[in-house]
Symmetry: C2
Subunit: 356 residues, 2 copies
DNA sequence: TTGATTTCCGAAACCGGTTTCGGCAAGTGA
DNA sequence: TCACTTGCCGAAACCGGTTTCGGAAATCAA
């Protein structure tokens, strides 16, 4: 029994150009116009050009939701965010969205964003968006090991692209930053500075990057001819607190490391704390290299040397890849990785003379 | 000359229930079903209930883009993000989006996100989304003085809701946090601690909040019976750097303040720096209260006392208000403010005995 | 009882596109 | 010259909804 109030913005679309206007202006039928614009072979080259020029002139673009009624596709990309606390990605969300949005709009697509808290709600969110045709495909940030989203979408035959890689790569395409190379380079960088005792603090094991970064670290150690000591090797530290705990463990080791590599910046900030608590100066007594490129790292003392990710660029690439996937390109052609960018900001130094 | 590859996910919507299925199941025509669901008066109560129950049972929901073709509305809210650097909102973007998304989906709406860099692109982005019918209305984060977005949308008769207030309030509805009350409370809180020399560092003047927070500060001073000294009063500091500069100015004043109120947290962190540079201990030598509730403030030494905003809740409210606006409710009923939440974390203290 | 209203639903047009189908005209081969 | 393609476009159906209009049945007034 609510009062019916008239929705506002009645004449807002102010007579946009429809396909009928186009047909009239060109003295063709709308079916011909439609097929010309979609590049059908049974429309002559001449007519196609003529139609496309007119579309340009009249600034005509088909309404995506009008097309969708027949094609089922709305020209929009879906992105489902998950609110997890310890998310190094979060400060970069704005850049990421900007990149995705730009990549999408370059292809005539838009971006639909939803968020989910728990797991059930996550699946439900995808399904709702799909049922309502609000997304033609999805960008999956933060690829996880055995990612439930992948299972869902793959089974549903829905296009998707991962930010991160996937072991079971069937039907998967992705864009990722080569964290393994970063970890390897970090080892070699430290080794050039004379370090031989290098500890490692890995990130969240539920994410697929952890395995890669661990392997990168191990490869770097192998290349440097250094043994990996599991006594100064910790997994699954993603918060400052966990990083501090891991750092304490490493620094209290009887033969403590002169350098520590962290798979995520937050953990490194924790290492800063435990180093300070033990009277160790980061940058001289202890070298630290991490990964992510968060802002806090820049403001830390000393500024944290880390591998940064061009999140905006990654967002852009992900959108582009997804659109190509939606258009039917095979996944094998839609897998790419880019290097991280080393920011040598000052948390490393030559191995201390008085080491141990 | 691109190879035509077949788009994937052909049968993905796996036979969703359409209005025709409904009509058949109910032995009614689809026009009746449609009108029943939309609550038309010329459909009997009995039939309406019957139809709605069936919709429930079959899990039927009309395709928004199928409705849109006739109604022009796609049941989606638009949000255009601007990439401006010094944006305290950014760390909260995830929460904000979560709130908006939740509020929207509760009303059967989804969220379309786009981003813009410069001003021209901003307007263009709105217009593209409108022309394509990708958004029925917009949430405008960070209300500005003489906001160009407001002008555009108001003239275009497009529904919108502001996060923040607007002086020229015609056609505007909003949700906002009462920063002015926060500033006032900050003054009174400090005054209760004995402070009489209280400096003020305002935030970005292009935003509409600046005027309000200034007024709140002045009102607090008036209520406390304190004069406002323009010598310890700075405008337009939004970054750590600008905050440090402003702090320096205030602290170098011959009769320096014993407390400083900042309109934004980042500025307060700058004040921390200039206080440290002068050998002043925040929390004892100098009290500081700010506004925003950013995470860095918690990790600062001492933790920054500040007024926090429940960004997720605000996002939720904004979505709800916008939907109501789209449905035609008058703007006057769609204006609300909520209080900020004071987090007394430790950057204030009694006025120092040896003051000056 | 009859004429005038209401009440309530069906029929059909419509929205802006896409896609199938059919057919005319020009070209091709014998 | 005639049958057969081929190239190219129009006609019309269709997608899944909304909305206008008209009319049958039930109710009401007289």
């Amino acid at each position: 029994m609510t009062v019916k109030t008239a929705p506002i913005s009645s004449n807002r679309a102010a007579m946009r150009v429809t396909i009928n206007d186009m047909a009239e202006a060109l003295n063709l039928t709308k079916s011909t116009v439609s097929r010309a614009l979609n590049g059908y072979a049974d429309i002559s080259e001449t007519t196609q050009r003529r139609v496309k020029r007119m579309a340009e002139k009249l600034n005509y673009q088909p309404l995506s939701h009008a097309q969708a009624i027949k094609t089922g596709r709305t020209r929009s990309l879906g992105l489902v965010l998950q609110l997890s606390d310890h998310d190094a990605q979060r400060p970069f969300l704005a850049e990421f969205l900007a990149g995705v949005s730009r990549g999408a709009s370059a292809e005539g697509y838009t971006l639909t964003v939803a968020s989910a808290d728990n797991h059930d709600h996550l699946i439900e969110t995808f399904q709702n968006l799909l049922r309502d045709g609000k997304a033609d495909g999805f960008i999956l940030p933060r690829a996880m090991v055995d990612d439930p989203r992948v299972t869902l979408l793959r089974d549903g035959n829905v296009p998707f692209v991962l930010f991160g890689r996937q072991d079971a790569d069937e039907g998967c395409c992705w864009h990722d930053v080569r964290g393994e190379d970063a970890m390897r380079d970090a080892v070699l960088h430290l080794n050039r500075l004379g370090h031989k005792r290098i500890g490692f603090i890995n990130g969240g094991l539920i994410y697929s990057y952890a395995k890669l970064r661990r392997a990168g670290f191990e490869q770097g150690m192998a290349e440097a001819g250094l043994p990996v000591d599991r006594g100064i090797f910790v997994e699954d530290a993603v918060t400052v607190k966990e990083g501090a705990a891991a750092g304490a463990l490493l620094l209290d080791h009887p033969n403590r490391p002169t350098a520590i590599i962290c798979a995520v910046d937050h953990a490194a900030l924790g290492v800063y704390q435990s180093a300070a608590a033990r009277g160790l100066k980061v940058g001289s007594d202890l070298s630290v290299i991490a990964y992510d490129g968060i802002q806090e790292g820049l403001h830390a003392q000393p500024p944290l040397s880390t591998f940064a990710v061009d999140t905006q660029h990654s967002g852009n690439r992900l959108a582009t890849l997804l659109v190509r996937r939606i258009r039917g390109e095979p996944v094998e052609l839609l897998r790419e990785t880019v290097p991280a960018i080393f920011l040598d900001r000052g948390s490393t130094g030559p191995v201390p003379k008085t080491a141990n």
